[in-house]
Symmetry: D3
Subunit: 332 residues, 6 copies
């Protein structure tokens, strides 16, 4: 094979005639330095959705729903870039090599309309519907948190039941309409419950903290008996004990990981940071401690590169993506 | 015209005929996006000091006393800017809405003289005297820590007794004169004790750590029996236990919060950072745990925006300001 | 209550009883250091629109129309901040003191809806209508360039004729619809002509350069005989000669200054920079050389603070704002 | 076609069965916002070298030869990212649409060895040999300037004669060995002449300036009668006149564009910036003015992303890449 | 003494006739502000190695062995700069004044060859050999982690036995060869064991975490029975208990402190950050808890200034350097 | 010589027994990479003032006189750092090697008192007096522009006559007292004239532009017939012609170069930037064109590192320093 062919195969191609990189291996850092090559998630091949693999990775570059700092539209490109540092052997889970266990591919970005949320919602829902129609699981990178709603709509239809829902966030995201708009990034959780997309009884919100504009948001979660795990809750007693008490999630389950569940020290690059948050160590431990029988999809949202001068937020996102994939590797 | 009147006239305004925003509400983020509008602390109205309200917020933009990185002069503008993200409902205190409970206003900045500390000290003392003469409490944003001394001088006169004093800091600030100057930012605590402004027996220094230039600073606090709470002290045992042991502060009490009590990871934007510091979660918990009967004033100092590329230090300051206001809401 | 009234009440104030700063002076830097005080444009008073003054300054914080980097929503706050450095005596125009010649005030920001362009357009048009109804001229700070269209709609109604239009930009902004959306930031000039808001025969586009996506944009300006002044045109021969050839604009005239007419070296903080642009010196000279009988309004758009680490783009905006005010000072 | 198929085809694929994007179109910004999608140069398809197209784009991520600031290894990824802003219609050349005129593709990055220059040189020479063996022209993105030498070695073999050589740079790059190493980034031009890879009589160095360590570098160019065009030369008289005097380059010609020919104001993100340099406007005009009959290859080197906080250096590189492609479009 | 003499003596000189600053005092911050003066480590005098002092400080500016972000070559200059903030009185160790207890000097930087690792290795080994031949202990600032290997080679010869080795790191650094190169920065620990430079039975790796490329690295440490202390290990139970279990190190001992043992929140400025890491408080406590009878040398590596916008990584390095010196002060 | 001795000699030492580097050579970049070594100006030896050399380089780290952005206190350290890139062979002056022609040394920093301008002024005057008493010329790096006044006081005494004075600046620096303080950084030129330190008839101010607070500053220069060269003046006609008209300066002459004479695009890192300024190319040409018979001293002021993320301002300062030294090399 010529040098160029090698770059071609390993850098970024999957062809539908099946003769190239159909083992869905990462481009090796031992052969191609990690700063080189066209950037795909985890240096995995790009694939068409009809190919045979297990988990699709894609971006949803839309930040039209944010109330403060925009910029999450650049997250998919930025996380692809830093994911070149992402490796696959998880020491903390007894040595699973996730890219051996699962076939994973980058399928590109969902098309979006920066100016028009309604159009964007349609496109996201359609895109996710196509993904799950091919019986893939997926992890996506947003985008602001308003993008999770159409994802859940697609999943609700696919699974024909409300999903179990694990929601990492600093905010409850049950905020009322703002400026006459229902679908801003602080309201998606409320809509998810109200539209019956998720089951509030199998819903857990982790990392919640900080001042609210009023008590309304809290009233919503109380009324719906949603299980809220605040930072205070996590830091009462040992982390191991806290995690042990988490329930088992049995049906189709979705995880939405808003990067602002992390403290601004750990994730400065986000739209609406809240002091007093979690550490990456805590979210790693929690993600490793979750008991989920069927994780069908997950997203990481609100990574905002313009405010992340050293890339630590993007790296936290890559690490979280890795843990989410390991969770998928444990399904069943 | 008094100094405050002058600030009022030139900065801008609250109309004394009482027909405008006399409920001291925040500009609603649900109506005006949080990135919009002229920046006042917490989007509160600007008021003349003679108006009827409870707590005055103002800036003291002076950094002429620093020994290393200047820039704290930009803190009042920067904190005003980020305080647009500040909300009022404190979930962690059982749901108090502080801006309903207290009437709070922005009264602008104290005038300062960047070149001349003596003049600046006079202006600060006069400004604070005017504030407390109108029976307001206050929270100010410095400025370097040398600005706290004239504030305490004004309070000492008003209350006619040494104040109880809670001092968050990485440093003891009992350092000797430097370069022939007594009033640099590392000596204010020593002067506060020596001038009888604060009561060393009702004084607590929290967050202390790190190498000192010599043992002199420490000798001062030992000699005066000041209660020093180091980071080691806070991390022995559980946080809840540590807090439980804090004494009750009964007389007029002042809090000075040097942002460098936080670790540089949580507050990179400060003049003389010291590794090994507190987290925002810890200071939140401590602030919520303090038992103060009469908090008459507080400041947040040493926020240095040029070294805060993602604004996380400013956001920590806003969050602290909120907790200080909640403490004032619990007075009596 | 009108929109402006609302902004006035909540943002804060100029007292209508006329006894405060009714000479519309800048807060003096010789008395209050320029880093101090609540930030208004050029340290001017905040005023209600019904007060007696000549020129209103306001922000339009909306960036929902951008195709690449958002962030211009933070421009009004950022330009207010740096405008503290703005002085009033123009040596280059023979010594006019603009803040003596004209009464100028900050009237706050137009309310916007980050998620919804249609609502935002309505609000902008209404806000500007109120401004011009009170017979004020104005300079606004965007916002992305899509915000200029509703401004022109309001002016078209007020003046009952298409306006003369001077448009500084790297781009023609006559681009077709994108993603099914007509009103993105690269199409406003086309709509302004097509809606009859401006007179293409009294229209001049300055600073144009760079690769286009296709020839369509150019076809539009050719078809409409719009006077396009490219960077090449400006740098053929001496600047003085180029300026001398500019026509006299006689009727009501509007200037829209997209900061990206400047080279990225001079204005890195913008959404879609194009190398090979103008220098601030060139735009100063051009602005000083324009012959306009009746400049009724102007805007500065596409200032994007997250990409402006040293503030030079904001400072270029402040300087341009000053030159625009001087142009207004020469009306008639 | 499904949404995902669309993303697949347009985002990044060329399959060797010829049925996808074989017209080598850019992914349209009007359909997919420019911040979305897997990043390839100019949003062009990735292709295997054996496909039928005209110009190959690739990266050479190696910075082991720098004497001061490393980081150019990140340039290929960074320039790919910003090249999403790159459009194809060149107004300044009378309206050529370069991506219609030439079929251009991204072929990924040459593999390199960060620690070992000798190995890297072999790989580069082999890679370029493969590219030119398929009768493609190319533009590459370095890497530091030491990477140009093996490129020229490959071309020398292909064309069987020394090449004409146009070299944009602040430095002569004829510096002696340093630290016992011949092949640092300041010596490649000397080696290129000494190895007979380029014809010093058909060689032009543009943008030269600044202090040298000694007169040795200069002696080399004098001895070899190399045509040196300093910044002073360019700024004597009008740019048009200077350009008119450039010779016609008739045989196979190579351009190496060191981004530090630009002034640090225009290209801060480079390894060894030198004040007093060219503007992007000047290099655009020079590139448009060059008369080259057969441009066989070109590189852009020394783009150093860690020192380019607003991306203006990367954008200058993208713009230069576009002009180089337009030059190739004019061959013969 | 004249003012200039004073600056001369205190800023940076040690002369071999012994009459200047032969007490190896720090330049006093109380006399010369900490931002002033020529930058040496901790404002200590520069000395020739043959002078009489205890500990030599020097830099090893080489980053040619990194796999991702270069830049550590700037660490010695950067750490010297921030070490001006470094003080000598260690409150946490019962009040030792380290610069009174030990005579410490800055001896400059080891010469390196950025392009050539083999030459660099020789120079480092020779330089360290000269240092230890004069019976000095030392702390050096790298450089990437590949620089530790030749340091250990020199020590192995000096002490004529494998050293005890305490290794702080996020990574095991037992990675196989990459790109055909053995001596990249992720393999030094493997070589140190394989070459018999360190005693794997007296070796402890602290701070290990995160995904690996494969299980190979781990196999190596298991096979060699190296004592690995992961972040999980440190956070099981109380820190005090964990530390208590550390063994006593009796023979000649070396500490290599890779700054990436810290979490990216605490040390963003490093080449290959890994989320979920240690805090500076934890490494301080661990360093204070180590029981070492004869610490003969130490290094701090992988500080990468281009990614450290607020200097917090450099400050963590300075603080670590201080703790390492205190450990040396406790020898015997 | 051992490796360490070599580092010792070349990195940074001058010993008064005369046996080391008494030829005042730069540390060679060909032997020690430019990123290595203890940082002195231009990698020159540190010397005691009584040694035999021609020109002393030193820093004046004081920014207590600024009205807006502080930070110039860090300029000496920062310029020392970047001056490692500084070379000595000036191609543009026909090949002078300045470090061969003149013996130049770094003598450290003048001690200053950040809080107290009066004390600082005394120290500066004394320090400069000592320098010129030893018959050295000098170039210093400030510090803000208020530091030039005491320098001129020392020179006035030494030369016993008012000096010729060439002043590069955006501002006239003839501003009145501010906040009751005479000696802020915008007033030094007025004081220099009023105290008779400089001869207004042999005074030239270059680079002046921009809005003033009022006409007062201008009145002062008119009244004193000071030769003001605005940016407009420089850009009328060709640069060569403008320079040709400059007068010959015959007596002892001083140059003060405020970096803000440059446009913010070229020097973002300064305290009070003004758009529309000079380019580095223009100041190079002007500095090369000056005709000065006896340049006795010079300073570069207002370099403010916290606002200079890519170091281009520091590099402009280094380049200017080099041109100033070349001017000194041409004395007589």
């Amino acid at each position: 094979m010529t040098l160029i062919d090698k770059a071609f195969v390993t850098n970024c191609i999957f062809a539908d005639n099946g003769n190239m990189n159909n083992e869905f291996k990462q481009l090796s850092g031992r052969e191609f330095p990690r700063f080189s090559g066209i950037k795909t998630f985890f240096r995995l091949p790009i694939a068409q959705i009809q190919e045979k693999f297990d988990v699709a990775l894609f971006g949803i570059p839309y930040d039209g729903g944010v109330s403060y700092r925009p910029g999450a539209r650049f997250a998919p490109a930025n996380v692809r870039d830093y994911s070149s540092l992402g490796r696959g052997f998880n020491m903390a889970r007894g040595g699973v090599s996730i890219f051996d266990k699962l076939k994973i591919a980058d399928i590109g970005d969902c098309s979006t309309v920066p100016i028009d949320q309604a159009q964007t919602y349609e496109k996201i829902e359609k895109f996710v519907t196509e993904v799950v129609s091919s019986d893939k699981r997926f992890v996506s990178i947003g985008g602001d948190h308003s993008t999770t709603l159409p994802v859940l709509r697609a999943l609700r239809k696919k699974y024909n039941q409300p999903l179990n829902f694990i929601h990492f966030d600093a905010h409850l995201d049950t905020y009322p309409a703002a400026w006459g708009c229902e679908y801003h990034h602080g309201a998606f959780a409320r809509h998810s419950v109200d539209e019956g997309l998720v089951n509030p009884k199998q819903m857990m919100q982790i990392g919640i903290r900080g001042p609210l504009a009023s008590g309304d948001d809290l009233d919503f979660v109380k009324k719906n008996n949603i299980h809220v795990v605040t930072v205070d809750d996590i830091r009462e007693g040992s982390l191991a004990e806290v995690i042990k008490k988490f329930p088992v999630f049995k049906g189709p389950t979705y995880i939405s990981f808003d990067i602002d569940c992390l403290d601004p020290a750990y994730a400065p690059g986000t739209g609406t940071p809240v002091p007093g948050g979690l550490t990456t160590y805590e979210t790693q431990r929690i993600l490793r401690g979750l008991k989920i029988e069927n994780l069908v999809g997950a997203d990481i949202v609100e990574v905002c590169p313009p405010y992340d001068p050293s890339g630590i937020t993007a790296m936290a996102a890559v690490d979280t993506m890795f843990e989410l994939l390991c969770l998928m590797g444990e399904n069943k």
